[in-house]
Amino acid sequence: MTTLPVLAEGLRKRYGTASALDGFDLAVPSGTVCGLLGPNGAGKTTAVRILTTLLRPDGGRARVAGFDVVAQAAQVRHRIGLLGQQPAVDEILSGRQNLVLFARLHHLGAAAAGRRADELLERFGLAATGSKPVRRYSGGMRRRLDLAASLILAPPVLFLDEPTTGLDPRGRNEVWEAVRALVAGGATVLLTTQYLEEADQLADRVSVIDQGRVIAEGSPDQLKSKLGGDRLEVVVSRADQLAAAAATVARAAETEAEADPDTRRVGAPVRDRVAALTEAARALHAAGIAVEDIALRRPTLDEVFLHLTGHHPRPADDEARQEVPA
């Protein structure tokens, strides 16, 4: 039997009266990417900080790479890489000096540390800028250096805490590419994110976390099908035909349809995909309703989240990091 690289059972953590984790369970199989998805303040960062030995849990237990995160913290630290919410690199030193520093602190000899630094710079496309001070790096470059610094010893378990928060789309793609390459190399990854697209792109399995506990898990597809499968969506050309279109779609697809006047869109959950689409298209045409677009689509993880928790994953303008007390 192989041990699970990441295993958490009933983790609890309180800050004063606020509960950050409240019976958090998680199991990540070897060689997979687990996406921990949830809004700010859901407890994602607290979970990662406990699993990476930075924080002591108040209750429950956790094992990483087969070792207890409290009793065998040194063994755990020897086998993990951590990418925190912001690039944890020295701004004054060059990229290469940073990697050599962290390699030396992993107790590689001077020559081995230099070799490893050059290898990692090469691998993350930083070889040409390795001697520049990090403060001249772009956000994406900084993040890639940060990732390289987490990979000095090629750790079997890697924790990425919101790795692309604050990056532009290009920087985000750079980081995604790097993570995919790591996973191809056999690493086990726990990734927290509040971007549903990111979980969709990278994760084999997603655990949805809200108020300190996991409220749903499964593959992105499984989670989406929890919403009752596919949806038929129709966009009408004229707003005054919206109500008629909704009624027609509901009748033709034998379902309930919702109409959104803002986008002139009719949406309806359907079971028999193609038959529903064909029937609806025929009925709309027969009723003389001008249709701009008609399509079947799977629900987004955003909708899954709303369905599971009753609120949207990203509270508007709430950028406060409630998970990390100063």
Binding site: T52, T53, L54, L55, R56, A74, Q75, R77, H78, I80, L82, G84, Q85, Q86, P87, A88, V89, D90, E91, I92, L93, S94, Q97, L101, F102, R104, L105, H106, H107, L108, A112, R116, E119, P133, A149, I152, L153, A154, A326
Partner: protein
């Protein structure tokens, strides 16, 4: 190519070796900052020289030292001690920057010795403060200050200054972890100046109103300054208060007291990071 992970230390001796190696690596990081940003280092050194010139020549003419003697001879021991006090700011800035940027967390999630983060910081700060003191000594000699005691007394005076700085490292580590963000550091920096000036560094306490003079006399900074004036053989002595009469003793006791309070506080703050 994969990199072979070195095995973790098992015996106490191996652990000690790791701790020392790690501390030296962390110190080396700070020394690398000097070569990467020499301007910052030079500016720091030039600042204290500027303060010496400012007080020595701009205000110095209006000052009389009780018991006679040159004001600059009186001033320099105060400047040496002040530069040690101001060092607390650089310790704080370094600690806070690492904590705020997540570098401290990266260190804590690595298999390195945890003591090395603070030990390396302390070693680097002692080196930079010692360098600063050397520059200030040269500056003092250039403006007419000198030591008049024996070599042993002179070394003892330097030792007291370095001891004072060592105690302040722990104040800096504690405050740096306590405020946790660069904005908070500014607030503490504002407080360092009055603490520095509320001493006998710039003016003899005898010239101050009674209550203010008493506060200044009992400032730990004043003890170090009076003791070093004594050991260097510089003017401005002759105070009659208990603190003035026992400056040498206080110059040792105060730093030890600061250490006794702030080492446990800093360690406690460090452990609180896990809570």
């Amino acid at each position: 190519m994969t990199t072979q992970a070195p095995p973790l230390p098992e015996t106490a001796l191996q652990r000690l070796r790791w701790a020392l190696t790690d501390a030296w690596t962390v110190t080396g990081r700070d020394l690398a900052h000097w070569t990467r940003q020499p301007a910052g280092l030079v500016l720091n050194l030039a600042f204290m020289v500027m303060v010496v010139l400012l007080f020595g020549y701009l205000f110095g003419g209006a000052m009389t030292v009780p018991g006679g003697g040159s004001y600059r001879e009186f001033l320099l021991p105060g400047m040496f001690a002040l530069s040690m006090l101001f060092g607390v700011e650089s310790t704080m800035v370094a600690v806070t920057t690492d904590a705020a940027r997540g570098v401290t967390d990266r260190f804590r999630a690595m298999p390195m010795a945890r003591s090395a983060v603070v030990a390396g910081r302390a070693a680097a700060d002692m080196l930079s403060s010692t360098l600063g003191l050397a520059v200030l000594l040269a500056c003092g000699l250039a403006v007419g200050w000198s030591w008049h005691g024996s070599a042993a007394d002179t070394l003892a005076a330097l030792g007291l200054l370095v001891l004072f700085r060592f105690a302040l490292i722990w104040v800096g580590v504690h405050l740096g972890l306590l405020v946790g963000n660069p904005e908070g550091v500014v607030a503490v920096q504002v407080l360092v100046w009055p603490i520095g000036f509320l001493s006998n560094a710039l003016a003899p306490t005898a010239t101050m109103p009674g209550w203010l003079g008493a506060v200044a006399e009992w400032n730990p900074l004043s003890a170090t300054i009076t003791a070093t004036r004594e050991l260097f053989g510089n003017p401005g002595l002759g105070g009659v208060s208990w603190a003035d009469q026992h400056a040498l003793l206080l110059a040792v006791v105060w730093p030890l007291a600061i250490l006794a309070v702030f080492v446990p506080l800093a360690v406690h703050r460090w452990q609180r990071l896990s809570r």
